[in-house]
């Protein structure tokens, strides 16, 4: 058990390190939130407003970056993420609350589907090395190397243009309000089709390729021959013997991508005007919205770490040899 305790200790340390880095990194960017805000308005905000904005954001007093840092840590311990600048004075937690569910639902679901489909295909492709299945990989890599926005925009042009079947932007119809009504859910689902499909298409090949490569390696092992000797059905050999052993790298990849879900997929959200976290992060970055950035980073950090811890545990469960004994 001390093993697990030590792991948790390391994870706490990592979390602290990441939080610290994420505090200082944004502040290393030249400029400040007020400048960016004025800048991005390109003349729509008067330069006279600059002073009032400094006052508004509480940046008129000189506070050393370290005292800010400790203040931030204190805030974190109290569970307070601060107020966003871009959406001043909306609390960061509220901004996150608005955007996270969208991202998690769409990206989470597609990540899982893409992992399952990709891994499954990878198993087949690896198992039938040299056959027709080898074509699957170049085709999917072709698709996944296509820049996401490119595919997304083409998809919009083809399927969402005049007379297209799908909406081109947003998470739901402007007319409906988020609630558990059929109207809302159906519109949300309809709006997620194009983004989901494009994400799937572009993200699957990674899973396929890593799974295929591992399958090819594993299928040379003696226990596969033995499994054949046992007269097990081809499917069982493929799944329970070859794939089961080949799965490990993909599992850790999957855990990581689960952790990164909350980071959203920036381009998807931009291209499809999807109300998710990725776009929020992008905006925060442009606006030097430190609290929002930190909030998003924090969520990413925590979820990546948790996912990683899970991956570690899954690994122990999946591959008994990784257990450190003695």
């Amino acid at each position: 058990m001390s093993y697990l305790l030590r792991r948790i200790g390391f994870y706490l340390f990592t979390a602290w390190a990441a939080i610290t880095i994420n505090f200082f990194i944004p502040r290393a960017i030249p400029g400040d939130p007020v400048q960016s805000m004025v800048n991005r308005a390109q003349g729509q905000i008067d330069s006279n407003a600059i002073h009032s904005l400094y006052v508004l954001f509480g940046m008129d007093t000189d506070q050393s970056i370290f005292s800010q840092y400790f203040e931030y840590l204190g805030q974190l311990l109290r569970g307070d993420l601060g107020l966003s600048f871009t959406f001043f004075p909306t609390p960061v937690s509220e901004v996150l609350g608005d955007s996270l569910p969208w991202t998690i639902a769409l990206v989470g679901l597609t990540t899982i589907v893409s992992f399952v489909l990709g891994t499954g295909l990878g198993v087949l492709v690896g198992w039938r090395r040299g056959g027709w299945a080898d074509l699957v990989l170049p085709v999917t890599t072709f698709l996944s190397s296509i820049p996401y926005f490119w595919l997304g925009l083409i998809a919009i042009t083809l399927f969402a243009g005049d007379g297209g079947a799908f909406p081109s932007s947003g998470g739901y119809d402007p007319g409906v309000t988020p609630s558990f009504t059929w109207d809302f859910i159906s519109s949300a689902v309809l709006h997620s089709v194009l983004p989901a499909v494009t994400i799937l298409i572009t993200s699957m090949s990674g899973w396929i390729m890593s799974m295929r490569n591992m399958m090819v390696t594993v299928s040379q092992e003696d226990y596969i021959t033995v499994a054949h000797a046992k007269g097990l059905s081809e499917r069982r050999v493929m799944v329970s013997y070859a794939a089961r052993n080949a799965l490990l790298p993909n599992v850790s990849g999957f855990a990581m991508s689960l952790g990164l879900i909350v980071g959203g997929t920036l381009l998807m959200e931009i291209v499809f005007s999807y109300p998710g976290v990725g776009y929020e992060l992008f905006q925060a970055l442009g606006a030097k919205d430190y609290p929002l950035m930190q909030g998003i980073f924090l969520v990413i950090t925590l979820s990546v770490l948790v996912a990683n811890l899970l991956a570690d545990v899954a690994y122990l469960a999946l591959d008994p040899r990784t257990r450190r004994e003695g």
Partner: protein
Amino acid sequence: MAVPAADVAAAVPVEEPAGKRRQAFRFLATGKAITGLVIIGVLVVLSVIGEWIAPYDPSARSSDLLEGPSGRHWLGTTHLGQDILSQLLVGTRSVMVVGLVSGLVATILAVVIGVTSGYLSGLGGEGLSAVSNVFLVIPALPLIVIIASIVPEVSTLGIALIIGCTSWAWGARVLRAQTLSLRRRDYVEAARATGESTWRIIGVEILPNLTAVIASSFVGTVIFAVLSEITLAFIGVSGGAEWNWGTILFWAQSQQALDQGAWWWFVPAGLAIAILGTSLSLVNFGIDEFVNPRLRTGGRMRAGFTPVVRGGDR
């Protein structure tokens, strides 16, 4: 008498490695790998000579505003009358540099850190794995933005290095996990017992057995790096003065080329990127045979069902 014997001993194996090498490079003979290598070769050549064979200066304006493909402009022009084919050709270099350099940097870092942290037990291993966790959560995009804004002019190589240095953690985690399962294998223990140094065990005993993972993660990182560069250019975070496929797409998108019907502006660059990715995945097919001796002779045979070639002419 002993002299000739030693001579023979020395003479015979000299040609052996040559033969071995020939065998090792047999993977090139597979059609897919060849196709991939040829495409990559062409792209590399283009990235060197693109500047010279481009028919126009990619930035030069002309009076042919937003024209479709024609004899004069094979891939049409932009809203400023710039020749898109030239932009594509000149832009190849930056994409290739970023893709390959950051792919290499990230893969090397991932391999070194991932495998080491998996192999070493105790504080060293845990520490390295904590480092990769931290890097995993450090968001690459903001970091690139920051570095781009601190350093006055980021070159393509700079971008490549930044992407490379921020995108290795994923591969490192995967490799670490796989290493954990390899580190107690008998042959690793045997190498240890033979007295191999830790570095050699990691580098020569464990690493080659991870090639499958490394290959896919290399291909993945290259694609990721190229896409990152293009994304950065596309969202207008880093421009650099140099042309790359992303800049083309940035202009196309900011001028809403697709809505304007100017597909020639938008489509080629995207396809070019996809072709680069595909060629890498084709090369990937050759890689497993290259490293896994058991696959070299296998051809299309599959385990479990030895073929019967009765009376085959031998």
